[in-house]
């Protein structure tokens, strides 16, 4: 379960930004981190992850740098830009509002 396409639109962006808020990571690590933090519930497919990463990069929320990975190979590491950080705050706030609202409805029933 839990394919990102089932997630609310735009949630993947939030997840990626959040993952990058602590340190720079490459695509594989981002996917792993999301999987790990969600208790293996959310599995981000490559087909969604890379287009999303490239889109965020084009929009200037994140920036990329080629660095040596833990295995010693060159990999593309993404990190948050200043604009990305404030975007993360905005998206977090709006996610909290939205999930709170959904919770209210679900618990009412």
């Amino acid at each position: 379960m839990g394919k990102p396409s089932d997630l609310v639109q735009g949630t993947l962006d939030l997840l990626i930004l959040k993952t990058l808020s602590t340190e720079a990571r490459h695509g594989w690590a981002i996917a792993k981190r999301i999987q790990q933090l969600s208790g293996e519930v959310l599995q981000v497919q490559q087909g969604s992850l890379y287009p999303a990463l490239h889109r965020l990069e084009q929009q200037g929320w994140i920036k990329a740098k080629w660095m040596e990975s833990e295995t010693g190979r060159q990999a593309k590491f993404y990190s948050l830009t200043t604009a990305g950080r404030s975007q993360l705050e905005k998206e977090t706030a709006s996610w909290e509002r939205l999930s709170g609202a959904i919770n209210l409805i679900v618990q009412e029933g």
Binding site: G27, Q46, Q58, R73, T81
Partner: protein, 886 residues
């Protein structure tokens, strides 16, 4: 600073795209390796780990594309890719591409050219200050039923004095001059005849324009007592004075009198007509008596409405003033009783409206036909590429993607066609401007951004039109069906052939409409050309000359000149007869009229009068130009200056004003209160080719005191134009400063006066012929395709015993059916459409049976010819071969 980062990103993605693409590959490869490494760590073998990782990873190429799509410029990138594919596809069939481009180019080119003309001439406001407030003022004359009559200068003066609706009013008229001198002080050089305008000094301020060089007339210069001043046209200044500004304040001779050049008008300016060469001040040029006359309708008046005053209010005011003048002068029969107003632009280009819009509609039809034809070709291609398209669809090519490629193909075709069209239009316009210099506002014709926008719109429209129609057929593609069908079929593609036939029906119908229109205009032009002028038109040469008052002040001097000239011309070997007429030869214009009273009849009630067109001729004019003398005799030799007593009337004059009595011996009193005896009756002539004859009266050549020129008419055997040079030499011997003008045969005079009709008919014929050709190509193409598709079926038919003629007949019928439907549809549409050109027709009905029959026959013959070859090919099919090849 996010925008800066984004901008940097955009620039990077634009210029370092291939590097970014390589990086993307590496990035995905890294991910895959990590996955493999994880799988190995989980205990899989190397090969197993790889396969599992690749399975989990999915379609790497698709993933790469998806990531790429998020990059900036990706829309541009995919468009470039579409263009590349489309160009490659088109280059694979250069014949098709070239045909389509030329066909569309023809359609677009004709449209751009016509649109540029309509836009510049009809729609563009005049380049003057506040053109919306400018109006042309007319007199409304009920005596001759002329609702839009020219103005008498006396009435205009009253309008100007009494009306409150206008901030300014000005007057213009015509003049002709012998121009000599080149401004360098040496007179008597290069005499030439020029047409000129006379303008009241406030004409230019009223219009709100200024000379391009120098200055306008002053009020003081616009008086009889002033020294002569002249404004040159841009064209005359360039041609005769080398475009040299030093000619300002130099003196030239007009009719032998000195005039100071005070300015040069802008190139576009041409009022009252486009072909004016120079302008002089009105009140300085025209006699005071004419400028005070209330009933001499000689001038064009314009006015500038005050802000807030409507046209209707202004008309009412002018009408009241005019009616009052009429009431105050009950003795004058030809004073108008009302006024009329029309926007100035309308008064200048009003006559061009219908013909230009008709031609524009015709070019629209041509473009539509061109698009239908290209759509037809594209459908044929889609069919030929059916298998390819089916395979691509099966491989996962999205329908949208294929449609985009399809539209891109037709867009490229029409863009290239548009480029061809622009070049074509440029050529057409250059030709038009050089051949139609007398057309109103012809110098205003140019290609600007509006025309450019129109071109772009046409390109997109044709692309979408042709592309969508043809992709309509591709859309219904059943992939499996296509793959199966193309492997073996005997009656394939019926539905596609049906679409193509429908397109053909439309094409043929439009062609028929164009053909009918062209046929009607041609017939009308032919009628016009062969309209009986009432005189000979073969072997007659005419030329005009003006006699300047300075050298020919005395009527006797003029008479002497005429006598010597005629005598010498008549003695030229080969000349059969020669005569003189003033002001114009038959078919060359109205030339003015005179009021008269018949002495033997009871006087008309006060305020009523009759009038007839006037001419002044020498005794031999009638026999020279072949106007029959029906009764009585021509002028005697005694009709000398000051002693003219005889008048000759036309047949219509006699019938209208002397019904049931013998006009010979009766007396006419003309406006000048001269008394004339009717000595002869001659046949009627037309003053204009398309107008019915009107009553006409002829005075003896020497009778008029105020005549300042004449046209010489020569009848001779053989090629009459050979006599032009000898006659010119005779004129030069008599007066070396006297230029002759308009050396034309009578046929050319008629040609000049029917040039518009000729032009319209010829253009429409060209359009119709191109459409016919396009339709024929379309028919041929479709039938060839049908035959090729049905080869298998034909083989079976023949194997079963069908004869070759039957097969040919079958195919012929298949091709001719759309032509027939189109013909019927087109004839039906013509019945409605031709009503719109009724006003352009002369003695031709909008539904002329001869034209309709001819058009139908031409169309059927062309359609049959186009269908013959494919049908013949069908009948040559070898049944064995046909069955085997499928």
């Amino acid at each position: 600073m996010r925008w800066l980062a984004r901008l940097a990103m955009r620039v990077e993605m634009l210029f370092r795209r291939s590097r970014a693409a390589g990086r993307l590959d590496e990035e995905l490869g890294f991910h895959l390796e990590q996955q493999i490494a994880e799988n190995v760590a989980a205990g899989m073998s190397g090969e197993e780990a790889r396969h599992a990782a690749m399975r989990a990873f999915g379609n790497r190429a698709a993933l790469r594309d998806q990531a790429r799509e998020t990059w900036s410029w990706s829309e541009v990138e995919s468009m470039v890719r579409d263009v590349r594919i489309a160009v490659r596809t088109l280059l694979r069939t250069p014949g098709f591409a070239l045909t389509a481009i030329l066909v569309i180019g023809l359609g677009i080119g004709a449209n751009i050219a016509l649109f540029a003309v309509v836009h510049s001439v009809l729609l563009q406001p005049l380049p003057v200050r506040d053109p919306d407030r400018l109006v042309r003022l007319y007199e409304h004359s009920s005596f001759g039923n002329f609702p839009y009559n020219q103005s008498a200068a006396g009435v205009f003066a009253e309008w100007k004095k009494q009306s409150r609706s206008f901030s300014d009013m000005a007057l213009a008229g015509y003049a002709g001059y012998n121009l000599s001198g080149t401004g360098s002080g040496t007179g008597g050089q290069l005499p030439e005849n020029v047409r000129a305008g006379v303008l009241s000094w406030n004409m230019l301020p009223t219009l709100g324009i200024e000379p391009a060089l120098g200055r306008n007339f002053t009020a003081a210069e616009d008086l009889p007592s002033a020294n002569g001043t002249v404004l040159l046209s841009w064209g005359l200044w360039k041609r005769r004075f080398g475009g040299n500004p030093v000619v300002l304040n130099e003196t030239i001779l007009l009719n032998g009198k000195p005039y100071t050049i005070i300015g040069v008008m802008p190139e576009w300016f041409g009022y009252p007509e486009q072909a004016m060469q120079l302008w002089t001040p009105l009140y300085h040029e025209k006699p005071a008596s004419l400028m005070e006359a209330l009933d001499d309708h000689e001038f064009k008046a314009i006015g500038r409405l005050k802000p807030g005053v409507t046209q209707a209010e202004a008309v009412t005011e002018l009408s009241v003033i005019t009616a009052r003048i009429r009431k105050e002068h009950p003795d004058l029969a030809f004073v108008s009783n009302g006024a009329n107003i029309r926007p100035l632009l309308d008064s200048i280009v009003g006559d061009l409206k219908t013909p230009l819009y008709v031609l524009l509609a015709a070019t629209g039809c041509v473009l539509l036909i061109a698009c239908l034809n290209v759509a037809n070709l594209l459908v044929a291609r889609t069919t030929a590429r059916r298998r390819e398209l089916a395979i691509r669809t099966a491989m996962g090519g999205s329908r949208m993607r294929l449609l985009r490629e399809h539209l891109m193909e037709s867009l490229i075709l029409s863009a290239a066609g548009g480029a061809v069209g622009l070049v074509l239009a440029w050529g057409i316009l250059a030709w038009l401007v050089s051949t139609r210099q007398e057309m109103a506002r012809v110098t205003a014709i140019h290609v600007d951004w509006v025309v450019g926008g129109f071109t772009l719109a046409l390109i997109v429209l044709s692309a979408v039109f042709a592309g969508l129609i043809s992709s309509f057929s591709a859309k219904s593609e059943q992939v499996l069906g296509a793959l199966q069908e193309s492997s073996r079929s005997y009656s394939a593609g019926q539905s596609r052939a049906r679409l193509r036939k429908l397109l053909l029906v439309l094409e043929v119908a439009l062609t028929v409409v164009l053909l009918v229109g062209a046929g009607l205009l041609l017939k009308s032009y032919d009628r016009l050309r062969s309209a009986d002028l009432g005189c000979m038109t073969r072997g007659v040469l005419t030329m005009g000359f003006d006699l300047p008052k300075t050298h020919y002040a005395q009527p006797a001097q003029r008479a002497n000149f005429f006598d010597t000239l005629l005598d010498r011309v008549r003695h030229l070997p080969g000349v059969r007869a020669a005569g003189l007429v003033f002001p114009v030869v038959p078919g060359d214009g109205y030339g003015g009229d005179n009021g008269f009273a018949i002495v033997e009849h009871p006087p008309l009630p006060q305020g009523q009068g009759v009038f007839a067109i006037h001419r002044w001729v020498d005794p031999e004019y009638f026999s020279a130009i072949g106007i029959p003398l029906l009764r009585g005799r021509t002028f005697g030799d005694n009709q000398r200056p000051g002693h003219a007593t005889e008048i000759i009337i036309s047949k219509l004059f006699a019938r209208q004003y002397f019904p049931n009595e013998d006009p010979i011996g009766k007396h006419l009193k003309t406006n000048g209160s001269h008394l004339y005896e009717v000595v002869g009756i001659v046949g009627d002539t037309r003053f204009e080719v398309g107008e019915p004859p009107r009553p006409m009266m002829y005075f003896a050549l020497d009778a008029d005191d105020d005549m300042d020129g004449a046209s010489l008419v020569i009848r001779a055997g053989g090629d009459v134009t050979h006599y032009a040079m000898p006659v010119q030499q005779i004129v030069q011997q008599l007066d070396r400063d006297l230029p002759v003008s308009d050396i034309l045969t009578m046929d050319q005079v008629i040609g000049r006066n029917t040039a518009d009709a000729n032009f319209d008919a010829t253009l429409l014929l060209i359009f119709a012929a191109s459409s016919l050709l396009l339709a024929a190509v379309g028919l041929f193409g479709v039938l060839s395709y049908v035959v090729a598709q049905r080869t298998g079926e034909i083989g079976i038919r023949m194997a079963l015993g069908a004869r070759r003629e039957q097969v040919a007949g079958l195919m012929l019928g298949d091709g001719l059916r759309p032509a027939l439907y189109g013909l019927v549809l087109g004839l039906g549409a013509s019945a409605v459409v031709t009503r719109l050109i009724e006003s352009m027709l002369y003695q031709t009905r909008a539904l002329d049976p001869a034209v309709l029959v001819t058009v139908s026959l031409i169309l059927l013959v062309v359609a049959a010819v186009a269908c013959l070859l494919p049908a013949w090919r069908a009948s040559r099919v070898d049944p064995m071969q046909a069955l085997r090849t499928e």
